[in-house]
């Protein structure tokens, strides 16, 4: 299935918005970016590598030649692309449980959005708007976002430990090594193939 590669899932959704509402959404994103980053909530979830929302105005679908038929749309369209770890159900459940207020502020401007809580109508809305991925690539298919963050912490701790213990007497080295183990023990989870999910 092209939506899944290793531990990553590629989700694409598209939903129509009345053009006047896109101005409100753009303003909302501007505010979040500069004053209250929605990214904080996404960081809290900690299983999203990359995510983006793209508003394509009704007149802005690329038209590259006179031979290409001109689109005549009434709606602007909100695209959402996400690269996350875990299963589709886990993702939507977590989104609905943790980011419900933020999601409502983003998608409430889309036609027929039922709200992110309760989760069943929200899932139906996502299913309706989801477009399947035809090809999906990730540079680190066996690593989750938490694996990556943990790996960078281990590497930094190792560099630090190596610098501090260079030329140290063996007894002191063993003592520092024990402290190093305590520091990194929570970050040594093994990467590998993903469990089979639903």
């Amino acid at each position: 299935m092209s939506n899944i590669h290793g531990k990553a899932y590629a989700m694409n959704t598209v939903s129509p918005m009345k053009p006047w509402k896109t101005y409100i959404l753009r303003l909302g994103f501007f505010v979040w970016r500069h004053y209250k980053p929605i990214g904080n909530g996404l960081v809290q979830l900690s299983f999203i590598h990359f995510a983006r929302w793209v508003v394509v105005p009704r007149y802005a679908f690329p038209r590259l030649s006179e031979q290409q038929p001109k689109d005549d749309l009434q709606y602007d369209y909100l695209f959402f692309f996400s690269n996350f770890n875990g299963t589709w159900n886990q993702y939507i459940d977590a989104f609905s449980a943790v980011l419900f207020s933020g999601l409502n502020l983003i998608w409430r401007w889309s036609e027929k959005f039922p709200g992110s809580v309760p989760v069943t109508p929200f899932k139906n809305f996502i299913v309706r708007g989801q477009v399947e991925t035809d090809y999906y690539y990730t540079a680190y298919p066996h690593a989750t976002t938490n694996d990556i963050k943990a790996a960078h912490r281990v590497e930094a701790a190792l560099d630090n430990f190596a610098r501090q213990t260079e030329g140290m007497p063996p007894a002191k080295f063993a003592e520092a090594y024990s402290q190093f183990l305590v520091k990194v023990q929570g970050d040594l989870g093994e990467t590998g193939e993903a469990p089979v999910g639903t």
């Binding site: 290409q68 692309f81 708007g129 690539y137 943990a150």
Partner: protein
């Protein structure tokens, strides 16, 4: 700029797909059939462009109708969506894509309107930019590490775990000697390639 988060660039491209009613199969189906044959590991087109963290290709047949009271409407062209998350700036990335994965790029985008080929790199870059749509809000969880830095860190993490496991209970002098040797081997070890699933095996080979 909303296309970027830290050092990561979020590229979104919508390329209109050719419509030929007299063709044996549609261009959109031809793209899908070709994509099914592409490897998804480092041998695929984006594995060759080593700054790519994650990328996808999606054929958008039409927009979605959610039911009354909204109006039903349709696109007059199908679009190839190219979504990529990569290190650095747009132009060098597109140039590298044309140079390193030219055959695959050509086999995919030859089905798109206005595609000029990859021989003239400047024309290719200009074409892709015409198809680019601005990202409205972009999020990257780790936005200050390159692909290479992340692959190296994952290899180090795996190697450290194996080192700890293999050196339990050793006297201090032997432990220290083993650690010095471990650092030496780690520094000269071959790095995992993008898209590879062999990070752990490479780390185990160090020990």
């Amino acid at each position: 700029m909303s296309n970027q988060s830290g050092n990561i660039y979020g590229l979104t491209i919508l390329s209109p797909i050719k419509d030929d009613p007299h063709g044996e199969i549609s261009h959109s189906l031809a793209i899908r059939m070709y994509l099914q044959t592409l490897p998804v590991d480092g041998k695929g087109p984006f594995g060759k462009v080593s700054s790519t963290h994650m990328a996808r290709l999606v054929v958008l047949d039409d927009v979605v109708y959610f039911g009354m009271p909204s109006c039903e409407e349709h696109l007059k062209s199908k679009y190839l969506i190219f979504e990529s998350n990569f290190d650095g700036e747009l132009e060098p990335y597109l140039k590298q894509l044309a140079a390193e994965a030219g055959d695959e790029v050509h086999n995919i985008w030859q089905h798109c309107i206005g595609y000029p080929g990859v021989q003239n790199v400047d024309a290719f870059v200009a074409y892709m930019k015409r198809c680019q749509v601005e990202t409205t809000f972009y999020f990257a969880d780790v936005n200050d590490k390159t692909v290479q830095q992340t692959l190296k860190a994952l290899q180090t993490q795996s190697a450290v775990a194996s080192f700890i496991e293999n050196n339990q209970g050793k006297p201090p002098d032997q432990l220290q000697a083993a650690f010095v040797e471990f650092l030496r081997r780690l520094s000269i070890a071959p790095r995992p390639k993008p898209g590879s699933t062999k990070g752990k095996e490479l780390a185990d080979e160090l020990l």
